[in-house]
Symmetry: C2
Subunit: 676 residues, 2 copies
């Protein structure tokens, strides 16, 4: 066995945990029984009590998913296990926030039974049932169990920005499938921004006609997606961001802007000045008609008007607006925007909807049924709740910032400032939304930024507040991530495709060795490093940073090996990384897409060499000299700098390895001899 | 550098070849120029002369593919390279076999120009242009080149059986995309067989209603697929297999059978007895109406009536049929089937179509416009041609037999017996079809059996006869295989998904080490080994044999290392395989799907140990003893036996390694001592 590890790539080992259930989100309450239900065929679904086409479709869909996950053919035969669904009554015709989603699921050796008050609970329970089924030594089976489950928060959303980068219908639909799998229930669809107006208006066709490059959803497609979401128990809340983030509107209708124009679709990313003119009555006439058209298209109770990041520059520079503000006694732009919001809110209400907006819209003059979405922090959310507004949290759930799942996971809508709220105030915190802003994702890469991390966020929104074990979360996250593969999400399969594109016929293995331990730069660092040309909407997303995963599981595993002091496996990894550069450089020389990776690969080699020297010292019980330590620290500091817009995630564990060395021997200062 | 290979998985190196063009099929004629066309944006497509919506759509589709392959966003801007398409005139309203598909493509530093007589040539040339674009140190580019190209054969088909296993619309459509990429032009759609009737008949709804388990194409879907194919320059020839292979028809209409019934959808695979009764006029009345309905749905000139593998048992056992045969003077069942075929042919002709059938239908009494599809060999094809019939070859192109691409590649429709035909007779050989029979493939696995091997067959049908360099073919096949990934084919991405399902949360790496060097059993061995329960239509296709690739590229690479005597890399591989068993066994113990793999993994270890011993002897210049040779041969013979319905593909090269040892030393016989 002595060569055992020398020849097989050291591999990620997912830690098995005490929790035997690979469920995500974990249910509110469950009791394991004895025995299991053997699954050799797809279910015969029997619906007792209330039924509707959505339930029949859900049963068939569950069987289709089961069939894909297991490879068992979808059968129509009379054998196979029985799933009895008992649904007490219909759900609301238009799904409302706060509707009952609870269910009771029992599985024993004879079959499965799912009880729910309404179809939403059935949908949630079916997903749980699918997650219970696993292969074992005896075949596919689900453990005998009784689950009583209900969500902690009624608003559990995913926000997708389709303006910065266009996302075709199939991208939205497969992500709705992913949302359903983890019991999310709101798609917040960010349809307009400076970089694109992504929905057809029949009343104002220049909106999409001049503001979208032809990349927009027709109204028929919108209806299709709304129906697709409803089938999965997901509400769709559209967002039309006004009065700022509005360039794409003004390309076709510059007369509504606070400055003369003309306007062009914004290609850059950031916060821009084009803004509606809140002083013109024609603007409100236009918005009223537009809101009327859109509220007819989207059945949901809520209508999101954005309201974030108004620079106010156009307002300050427009004498008519300044004069209007003086007449009205508005002290600042915030007061002017509040006036605009009240006008818009009245129109939204007249069209039968509740207005929602980002936390900038918060103003005591707004009606109390306005919903506040906090992106700036839990403080704003708590403040809203104290003022009597319902709110949801997005701060801490920004997927585009490339943070680890664990970080999102531990942020709680009722945590931090919200913790000090009264009971009634806490009830105003409805839940939260993960936000996928799309400056740096396109149809090819968006899944890999949303998934699997959003499953961890979904557990935060659904499961009891004390479900907070990060190790358990990661173990289950890997299982749910695999299962999302079978829903058509591309967050796993596109990795190898993209690495193959980069290698362009060269050896892809050494490229993957490197890619496996890097992560894209975090927060707002992308596109801003020294010497980087600021990207635009038209910049290809086909580089290593785009292929790289948001969380390097292999780097996490390596960090664990360092913590555990598993020197044998630490050495294997370090040797592999040290040797990788020589294999990778010929590949990097082939394609211009990889030129930027050349120094990154070299840095990895240097870090690995440093780690190996440290390991040698540890194993031979030698202490490092201060000079050695200083030299190695310089190597590590250099390696911490982002290259090719990614970070090497193994630098910190190597640093820790060095930190574990014995106290350094003071170096004997060299005798200084005078120059001759 | 001494650890270089010890730490990185030895990897497949695709051999670079003299042929600098990664085109498949290779064009009839080309001349490389100097310089290249830089591709930083998608093409601005300018269509001069004749145009039609199909051409506009093809240009947009080419840009979409380019965008996916490169990651360059599809732009609508006014910059970017220009592709000028000049098309002389329209194609036939319904694509006819034999229509001109030639094109001339010129690329230089300023742009690309594509000239063709009709839209079919444009479609072919666009695919060539896409294949020319590759990443290099300076960016994406296409080399300066002039290509004059045309197909060798006018009939270049892929036959897909959707009866044994149902293939949903998206499977057909993505395979049409793959066909278009390699210039195939006929989808032969095997719509009915004993195991399923897969198309909606409005006149006879019990056909699909009772014969399909609800898995059939609606007429609307058929029209969609025919239009999808036409957009890509592909004809669709439907096959309705009669009078045998007809069980699924007879489930709903037993009155047309030659024996009383009742009938059920056949779940097993093989050749079965249920057959139409060729003596009943009601059968012809039924068929005439049915053929009328179907010929209205499929615009193509050809209509395939199957006609293969009639057992004749029902005919022999039916006294009325026997009596009819005596009256008509038919000596045997073949004569009765010929009578049936003539009747059917007359109906097909009356509905304006040319009849096509498998080679069993060949009979001098059939009109000369009948097309013969030879599945039993080139001899039958040559015979047809001599008799004056046009024909196509499928013998040698059966994808379900899991033969290497090289074998299919070297089979020529004009090879073997056809070589002796006269010039006019040779002209009757129209081309060929790759055949994907679906006993052992489902929607998940079918792509991996069709691709990439069908690309090699497509080259045989398109490129000049002297394009026969197998090494060049394999090098280019790998490139085209990668590019098919971007068309949505799943032949690569499903491999890892399926291995992940098998590992079910365990380590997938050692499973892949094994899977990478096995191939499914060949020819008709699947489902027939000792102790194997004969599979049916409802048997899951989720085992190692289903995940395994048809051709192990790593085993090919290992064989090459043995041929080259690269002892260092041979040792790396052998050690990896020897050590793999210990890593893999815990994974195999987890899931019932892998129980059958336990002895296979052990066999791999043993073969690797044998190889390592041989390598040690080679390196130490020792000669093996006869006893050692005999023992090792026993190990290898045992390892050659299929396990889990796959074969270890590295046994033969290890055998070769041993064969390269010096002549064995005669063993000194042990002295026999008498028992005390």
């Amino acid at each position: 066995m002595k060569y055992l590890f020398a020849w097989v790539a050291p591999a990620l080992v997912v830690i098995a945990h005490a929790n035997p259930l690979n469920l995500m989100p974990l249910p509110a309450q469950y009791t394991l029984g004895t025995g299991s239900l053997s699954i050799k065929q797809t279910f015969r679904v029997v619906i007792t009590s209330y039924t509707e086409p959505r339930l029949v479709a859900a049963g068939e869909r569950a069987n289709s998913i089961l069939s894909r996950q297991t490879g068992i053919p979808k059968t129509l035969s009379e054998s196979g296990p029985i799933l009895t669904i008992s649904c007490a009554h219909a759900a609301e015709a238009v799904q409302k926030f706060g509707e009952d989603e609870s269910y009771r699921l029992t599985v024993d050796e004879r079959g499965a039974r799912l009880d729910a008050k309404n179809p939403l609970g059935v949908l949630r329970g079916l997903e749980t049932l699918l997650q219970l089924i696993e292969a074992g030594p005896q075949g596919f089976s689900a453990p005998a169990i009784t689950i009583n489950d209900h969500p902690r928060f009624p608003w559990r959303g995913l926000h997708i920005d389709v303006a910065r980068h266009w996302m075709p219908v199939e991208v939205i639909e497969r992500n709705l499938d992913g949302m359903a799998a983890v019991k999310l229930n709101v798609l917040h669809w960010h349809l307009t921004d400076d970089e694109g107006f992504r929905i057809e208006s029949k009343l104002f066709p220049k909106l999409q006609g001049m503001g979208s490059d032809g990349q927009f959803y027709t109204q028929e497609q919108v209806r299709e997606i709304v129906a697709y979401a409803r089938d999965r128990g997901i509400r769709v809340v559209p967002e039309f961001d006004i009065p700022g983030h509005a360039t794409s509107w003004l390309v076709g209708y510059p007369e509504f802007a606070a400055a003369p124009g003309p306007y062009q679709i914004e290609r850059r990313f950031g916060v821009f000045d084009p803004t509606f003119d809140p002083t013109k009555e024609t603007v409100y006439q236009f918005l009223d008609k537009f809101i009327g058209e859109m509220t007819a298209l989207f059945p949901d109770e809520f209508f999101h008007i954005g309201g974030d990041e108004v620079t106010g520059k156009q307002w300050r520079q427009n004498p008519d607006i300044q004069s209007f503000m003086r007449q009205q006694g508005f002290q600042d732009n915030a007061a002017l925007q509040a006036y605009f919001n009240r006008r818009v809110q009245a129109m939204v209400a007249a069209h039968g909807k509740r207005m929602q907006g980002w936390d900038e819209i918060l103003n005591p003059n707004l009606p109390k049924d306005t919903l506040i979405q906090s992106w700036r922090g839990t403080k704003a959310l708590a403040e809203s709740a104290r003022l009597g507004y319902q709110g949801i949290l997005s701060a801490g759930y920004y997927l585009d910032l490339i943070q680890p799942a664990s970080k999102h996971y531990l942020i709680d809508p009722l945590g931090n400032e919200a913790d000090s709220l009264s009971g009634d105030e806490k009830k105003r915190v409805l839940g939260g939304e993960a936000c996928m802003w799309s400056e740096y994702v396109g149809p090819e890469t968006v899944d890999s930024r949303i998934w699997p991390r959003t499953a961890a966020i979904a557990e935060r929104f659904w499961s009891p507040a004390d479900v907070r074990d990060v190790n358990s979360m990661y173990a289950r996250l890997e299982v749910v991530s695999r299962s999302l593969d079978w829903r058509g999400l591309t967050h796993r399969s596109d990795y190898s495709k993209m690495l193959n594109r980069l290698a362009d016929g060269g050896r892809v293995e050494p490229l993957q060795v490197l890619a496996d331990i890097v992560e894209p730069v975090k927060n707002y660092k992308r596109g801003r490093g020294a010497g980087i040309v600021r990207p635009t909407q038209q910049t290809p997303l086909n580089r290593l940073v785009d292929a790289a995963r948001c969380e390097s599981l292999q780097a996490m595993e390596f960090a664990r090996l360092v913590d555990d002091g598993d020197r044998k496996r630490i050495r294997e990894w370090l040797m592999r990384w040290r040797n990788n550069d020589a294999l990778l450089q010929p590949v990097l020389a082939k394609s211009f897409l990889l030129t930027e990776v050349i120094p990154l690969s070299q840095a990895l080699r240097q870090v690995a060499e440093t780690g190996l020297e440290a390991l040698d010292m540890i194993e031979s019980n030698k202490s490092p000299t201060a000079g050695w330590l200083a030299r190695q620290q310089a190597v590590l500091d250099e390696a911490k700098k982002p290259r090719a817009e990614v970070q090497l995630m193994i630098v910190a564990p190597v640093e820790k390895l060095i930190g574990g060395l014995e106290h350094p021997q003071p170096e004997v200062p060299k005798r200084v001899t005078r120059a001759k």
